[in-house]
Amino acid sequence: MQITSPAFKANARQAMADADLQRALGNVERGFIEKRAKAVAKMPEFEELRDSARDIKNHTLAYLDLYLEAYETRVTEAGGKVHWAADAAEARNIILDICKSVEARRVTKGKSMISEEIELNPALEAAGHEVVETDLGEYIIQLRGEHPSHIIAPAVHVNKDQVEADFRRVHTNLPADRNLDEPETLLAEARGILREKFLSADVGITGANFLVAETGTSIIVTNEGNGDLTQILPRIHVVIASLEKIVPTLEDVSQILRVLARSATGQEFSVYTTLSTGPKHPGDPDGPEEYHVVLLDNGRSAMLGSEFEEMLRCIRCGACMNHCPVYHAVGGHAYGWVYPGPMGSVLTPSLVGVDKGGQLPNASTFCGRCESVCPMRIPLPKMMRHWREREFERHLSPATVRWGLGAWAFAAKRPRLYQFVTGLAARGMALAARNKGRFGWLPLAGGWTKYRDLPAPQGQTFQQMWAKRSRRA
């Protein structure tokens, strides 16, 4: 997928001019926030659970190598296989080899952001496999040839009439008089089509919300049940997960699950939390015959020990983007890569480089709402600021910004000069505003005055007036 993060500003402008998108984004702003607030209010221990969840991940990351080894041992004992993938290409190749080994015709997929990150679908299709996304939202965007615009609600940017048009275009044997006006009828149509795909798939690929070291278990958390049908019906179940998904024990997972759904959708608990361990046991009437886990690094091991380590606590609940005023304004696609919103603004430069992802951590007011709702207490604004520091150190920030900042800093470090200059400015601007109290336009202030007036100074600086008062006293 082409990374368009460097064009964030242009992407954002386009998104803000897109009426369909703006209508769809209203759903994020209303639904998620209210539901989360209600769920949190019903759980008096929620703040302590956040602390607990944070501590568990911090502990795990400090011993990540050992937990991964313990996890691998358990997976192997259960009859599964762990494949280690250093980067996206290696992960794709491992999965292609697995699909090839059974001459897979049809591959079903549960929702997985890692699969987006490694661009798995085009690779599978190029190798001749039919790929079917089975999460309703993912299915819709697959039909549309798009990428997810939200990590838990991938089609949140799409309105129902657009879904209807897509279904009519792709489901060719659909009677023209079939009513597809309502979400209910659209869901029924997708259910029918996808049921057939589930039952005839050769390989099922899911992501993982957690990997449990104690038991060698992978866990998916869903509401539709598509992830379950994806993994219990085909002969092969492939799990693709990044390595920071590991947690030590079932007790630890229990803690984090208590904050996950509440933060994500405002549910007390998601409908299906599924723990999968190895292939089916002897005598089991259903379940896969082979179980593979592809453990992806793709830059994460290098984040450990850096100022971005805390980002590895992220459990992909989406609360940060649900609460982000920038995300509300532009939606997910404007961010230009796989992960949008505040978590994407931190993660994207980590995974694709600050030269490509550097725009994203700049596009924040640091309002802090993301951090205030993050179940894992990830200091997202702080890490966005760290990216700005990296950019500044590498002289990647625009020359005008550096020049302006330099001139300002020169004065700000010299109080007498500063007060002289601000004194002149206060007087000059007040005169120029001719007692109107504001400017509709001012040289060099176009970024401000394009959309709003600039309040005029009162005429003297506080320091000047204070000095006079002190002299009088």
């Binding site: 869901l187 060698g216 007790e251 379940g287 020990g305």
Partner: protein, 223 residues
């Protein structure tokens, strides 16, 4: 060097850790062995009756239906009645679970019972839950010949029987039981935590039941 070795080496370098550090290994070993519990919310920590009531209420909050069947022997008839009341065919699929197998199925003569996995042709599946969690109204189901996973997902309607005594306050209590039943570090192939019927809100954030799995979840609390 394999990717496995490269990744582990990078992690150790980033953490400033040595591969042979015994103290680190001991920390991890004891965490895995002891599996300390974290914070358990007060909500589910209730005496038996209250706990079961909470379990039922939480399930009803997520659009499941719940009935209490005091005598396990009444389950077949009650099930037949439930199916009739909802215009469902008198046919079910279930696994070989001892509790389910031991029920007096002859008391519900009209009911056709298929034993084994589901294949997508069945309308109603019956499972027996390994445990339940009052905190969120969550059912926990272990896969195997006793309760095939396909029964949980392929039929339109999922009926789950659970013994009242198997309803705990929190997840941790059921996980501890699971550890006893299967052995430390061992798991059934699939362990499903089910809280309500299948749903999706992917179209305009409108909540709809019956996305891919069952459209309806009915729970019978036995005992």
């Amino acid at each position: 060097m394999s990717s496995r070795e490269t990744i582990l080496a990078t992690i150790r370098r980033s953490l400033g850790a040595n591969a042979g550090d015994r103290t680190r290994a001991a920390t991890v070993a004891s965490r895995l062995a002891e599996a300390p519990k974290g914070l358990i919310p007060a909500r589910g920590q209730l005496p038996d009756d209250k706990r079961i009531q909470l379990f039922a209420r939480m399930l009803e909050d997520v659009s499941a239906t719940v009935e209490r069947v005091a005598d396990a022997g009444d389950v077949p008839q009650r099930l037949a009645k439930f199916l009739k009341g909802h215009n469902l065919p008198p046919q079910i699929v279930r696994g070989e679970d001892a509790l389910l197998a031991g029920l007096p199925w002859d008391k519900a003569k009209t009911l056709e019972v298929k034993v084994g996995r589901a294949d997508g042709s069945e309308t109603v599946g019956l499972s027996r839950a390994f445990g339940g969690v009052a905190e969120t109204g969550t059912l926990m189901l272990a896969s195997g010949p006793e309760n095939p996973t396909t029964v949980n997902f392929l039929p339109e309607v999922h009926v789950v029987a659970i013994r009242a005594e198997d309803i705990a306050g929190d997840y941790e209590t059921v996980f501890a039981r699971l550890r006893k039943a299967y052995g430390k570090g061992k798991m059934p192939r699939t362990f499903n935590l089910v809280t309500g019927a299948s749903r999706s809100a992917d179209i305009e954030q409108t909540l709809l039941l019956g996305a891919h799995g069952p459209r309806r979840l009915h729970v019978m609390i036995v005992g």
